[in-house]
Amino acid sequence: MTRGRPTRRRIPLRTRMSLLFGTLVCGVALFMIGFFPQRMAEQARISTELRAKTVTQVISTAVGPALEFDDADNAKRILGWLEKTPDAQFAVIVKSDGTQFAAWRPQHVPARLPSAPTTLDGSTLITSAPVIGRAGGAGRLYIGQSLARMIADREAARRTVLTASLVVLLIGLAACIVIATKLVRPFEKLTRIANEIARGTKPPKIVAVDEGPEVEQMTTALGTMLDRLAHANSQLVEASRHAGMAEVATGVLHNVGNILTSVNVGIESFAERVDAMPDERVRRTSELLADACAHGPPDPAKVTAAVKYLAAIAAHLRSERMSLLADLTLLRGHVDHVKRVISMQNTYARTGGVTEQVELQKLVDDALALACPDPKRHEIELVSRVTPDCILTIDRHRVLQILVNLLANAKDAVVAAPTRRISLDATVEDHTLAVTVADTGVGIPQDSLVRIFQAGFTTKRKGHGYGLHSSATAAEQLGGTLRCHSPAPGQGATFVLRVPLDRKVES
């Protein structure tokens, strides 16, 4: 069991653009929320540390002489400068031996002072710096600074950034939707117009939209395309009409051509026989009688001979008259067929066509007469096998057209072959007429077999490539099929026509 591919959900352009812009705005907002507060906090910490270190350095330098000269009062006085630093919590100078030398706000001095120059102890920043006298005296200054203000400032900044980010996010999302809508609107208009064109609805005149140079250009180009499309469409219709007319003309020419060949042969035969009429002998007989009567009573023996001669001529004339009438009837039938062919092509009788009751044998005989009127002249052996006493209700003219084409092709094929034999088998089985035309002619190459029924394809030097195409089309119109088989070039070809019969065959 095969699993079908899942259908991709198609998201409208407006939604996609809104999502895209919205994602960008959200990204910016998240970046602001995630980056700026942390960055600002880091900057604040660095700034606070730097400030604390600087103050410590300055005071450590200032208290150096006091430590050197053991002037604790002076040292305290200098440490007292930290009163002006609001964040300062304590300051203490420790001698190199570990004893406390001087302190400011000693009650805040922690029990253990850190060894690192900068230490963060909860909310207190403790910085230290060496105190070195010019004469070698040494100690260390520690200053403790509260970070409460820095923390408060950091929180305030974070709230500000968060608020600003939310505002930016909301405004940005709204702007995204507005911008997406504004950008997409002209494309939606153009899409509607394109859909109308695809449905075949003639769209109204495209009005130029003032949505920017690109959209304006697209609109103008679409309008031009529509005009050209309409023009090309009309040209195509005209060309199709001409092509159809050409096809009709070709079909008429081909089918009528086949029939005219036999009409020509019939007319030739008719002309020969008319030319062989014994009118000269009748004239001579009348001269003899006139001569016999001119010199008295005619010789009865001569009169009797003349009467017998005239009777023989009359019988011959009668026979010739019957034969000529039969030929004329045949010619009339051919002309009628020509008319029918022309009528069929003119009206594109696809589903039309007149069905009539036809004797199968006669149908075959007519086809053979039309396609091969004088087989002996070309030394062609014609063999036909037809289901006897079989009457069909069928489109006679269309089937006749197909058979005439197949037999004409077979005749052309065997003319150049060493063995000239054409066989035709016509049977009715399972309410289907099956006619097989086989020849011992030049055969058909395998690569031509797939193209043999295409319009315009021919293997004959003077062929139009229309006969088999029209035959296949006619077979299709009858609801049947026309197939071809050829073993190899030089081994003849076999064509099989199958046509379903609508009514019960009468036999």
Partner: protein
């Protein structure tokens, strides 16, 4: 060179040790020290002649002896003791020794007045260091005096400058100016 002038009864005690130490540290805060001296920091202790002078000399030798391991500005300390004979001799000594400081011992001022003494020190660009505030008032540059709770540095700004000394501001913050 430190000239030790014995101007009073001689006695070496912890106070003298501190004073000696402070005197040396004061020298360390002289920004012009390198220009005034050679490779050694010579402290001239000038004492008065006689027994009084000998005691003073001994007192300051002991006091400075405990500080002998110190170095001032990377230079070793050399103590030069001198019994005052005459101003000329003292002046010659100061010039020859390239002394950094002259210590006025107790009793010296009975033999030579402070103004006369400081004329010699100013000529040789030697820092005069006394042990009484009155000496600074009279013209000496610096004195280390014992206050109520601690020792105190007093200085005469004009005398300091006249003797070619330029003290660091840190020291001046701790010291008390007199004699202006």
């Amino acid at each position: 060179m430190l000239v030790l002038l014995l101007a009073g009864p001689a006695a070496a005690d912890t106070r003298d040790d501190r004073h000696a130490l402070v005197m040396l540290r004061v020298l360390a805060y002289d920004k012009q020290l390198a220009k005034r001296i050679g490779k050694e920091v010579r402290v001239v202790v000038v004492s008065p002649p006689g027994e009084e002078g000998r005691l003073e000399e001994q007192r300051w030798r002991e006091a400075f002896g405990k500080a002998s391991k110190l170095k001032v500005d990377g230079r070793p300390i050399v103590l030069v003791a001198h019994r005052f004979q005459s101003a000329a001799a003292l002046g010659k000594l100061l010039a020859d020794q390239h002394a950094a400081a002259l210590v006025i011992c107790d009793g010296l001022t009975r033999k030579i007045s402070v103004p006369a003494l400081v004329r010699l020190t100013r000529a040789s660009k030697v820092l005069s260091i006394g042990t009484r505030e009155s000496e600074v008032v009279d013209g000496a540059a610096v004195a280390i005096v014992s206050g109520e709770s601690r020792d105190e540095i007093v200085f005469n700004a004009g005398a300091v400058e006249a003797e070619g000394v330029k003290f660091d501001a840190g020291l001046l913050q701790l010291a008390r100016e007199v004699g202006r």
